[in-house]
Amino acid sequence: MKQNKFKRNVSDALNNPKLKVAIRRTTDRADAKRATAVKNFPGFDRTREQGQKIKDHVIEYLDYYLAEFERNAIANGSIVHWAKNAEHASQIVVDICHEQGAKKITRSKSMLGEEIGLPAALDREDFERVETDLAEHIIQLAGDPPSHIVWPALHLTREDVVDLFRENHQNPIESTQVVDLVSSARRELRHHFLSADVGITGANFLVADTGQVCTVTNEGNAELTTTPPKVHIVTAGIEKLVPSIAHAMPLLRLLVRSATGADITQYTTFHNGPKRGTDLDGPEHCHIVLVDNGRTNMLKDDMKEMLRCIRCGACMNHCVVYKHIGGHAYGSVYPGPMGAVITPNIDGLNNAFEPVSACTLNGKCQEVCPVNIPLPTLIRAWRKKAWEKKVDTIRNRFLVACFSQLAQRPRLFQFTTNMAILMMKPFSRRGWIRWMPFAGSWTTNRDLLAPQGQSFIQQYQKNRERHEA
């Protein structure tokens, strides 16, 4: 995203007190719940290492596991499609929906779907799209994009939801209790589940040796999305592979604890393709769309480790920047630290430089990442590319270049330090500076520490001379 747009988004976000409340209600609770879940699971660190190894192994042998998955998925009766990029992927889905003569389409939450622009693509073709995840249902009513990868409606408060449901539900309720809101949404969605022609899901894991697609939800909406309609379409990134169900288990343990702080998700389903001979229910057709959209570039680009991501959202819940500006300010599908690494790869570094730049590199994200992705290192790696490609403004690059030039010349550096101290002196009051020229971006919000006197080096040298004399 371009600099001005980002700055505007940030300032809108920071000036929205309601947003702050909404973000913190969710992220603070998520942080606390995650911490408890991790503490209560003595094997967490070991599982984290295991998870990392499994993902690294799959990424190393991606071609092998993709071929194995395809073979087994076909053997299960599914049809496998390969999509190079976002447009290609959503076109495949749209075409299948047309072929099936679909009118109503239910969809369970999938960030990959957002990544490939599927909601918009379906809307353009005038399908009736029904989002079935509770939070997705809420933001569909609000007409908002998701602001978090696990809680897409995180930017809205319960009060907002009450209003949205009152305006939009067929039998609006008076209550503002969460249980009643949930019931209202269930009533609203139930008939759509049963009358949809196509159900679309993402995938949390693709199991190579069985050809299965694993989905994880807390609401059971993925099961209701995939079972009643005639057609089930899966859209999944190619990095979602695991060798076997056994390999999915440690990752599931990590995912749920890191995402919601629960010990287990309510619904974990391994979908096995279309229904067979004696099956009583299930879809008649199952299509699996495997999406690259820049992922193989990440293999080449030294961003490999990012492909370990299991989309748990912990990095953003714990990010001081995300916690203050929220997801929408980033202006991309994926916000927060993981978004800062993934987005330049999808939208181009020029368009995604601001999130890369707006990071303190404090490392908390990596600390909580269940597959130990070195997010700060990868963010820095993008900055390096940005430096080489001259992406930042001339002013910012000039300042850094001046600094580098100066710092390579220690004596000149010391001289400049001494000059700076002299310049700061007249503005100093009781050890602090409230305002001085060129320090505005610091002093607008905080006092600047005034020098104690001469520089350390000067004082030190003087002391020594005195000593020796």
């Binding site: 990596q366 580098s404 220690p410 330090t417």
Partner: protein, 252 residues
Amino acid sequence: MKANVGLFVTCLVNTLRPSVGFAAIQLLEDADCNVSVPSAQSCCGQPAFNSGDDEGTKAIARKLIERFEGFDYVVAPSGSCAAMIRKFDELFENDDPFAERAKSLAGKTFELLSFLVDICDYTVVDSTLDATYSYHHSCSGLRELNVHQQPMKLLKDIKGLQAKPLKGSTECCGFGGTFCVKYSDISNEVVSEKVDNILAANADILLGGDLGCLMNIEGKMNRVTDKEAREKPTSVMHTAELLADLLPSNDS
């Protein structure tokens, strides 16, 4: 034989708070080290490195390596600067003549407080201070160098000094080097929250091991308490300053 320690002062201490540098020297000497301060030193290169300017960083690193490689140890009163020097070993390609030298320097570079505890087995003896403190664990030291228990261990031995828990004590204060000026408004939100937590902890002193974070925090605290027209209840100090103040040689 005494270890020869080269003190890397860091830009902020050099410019704004030399007392931290002198405190570091006192502590290191008390820990039986021979301390030298090369006068031709500049910066560890973080602003360049974190902006992606690897060539600039390398040029800075070369100068630093030449100045400091002769010492047994290089010590900085800052986790983030020490962590940066440690990163020099990833900076140079294998065939670069500086690759080996960078690696060797990285291996002997330490943050002050962890150096005192982990390498010098330094302990605080016979110190008393009737006060309460909260600790801000700066991110680079904490996550890149594992500096966490060491300062706690030193402070625990000061009689009368009591810890007051600080909410979010391991969370970023919003300084982030160039971040705090480039994204001043976000940084302000982050540090405001930090200051709220510190004021709520209500200790006499806030301690930490990185001047960048400390001046960000105290600078904000000044504004907050000014606005609320009240005395600053908590003073902010570098841990080295507190420890050195308590040395017998500084008894007043």
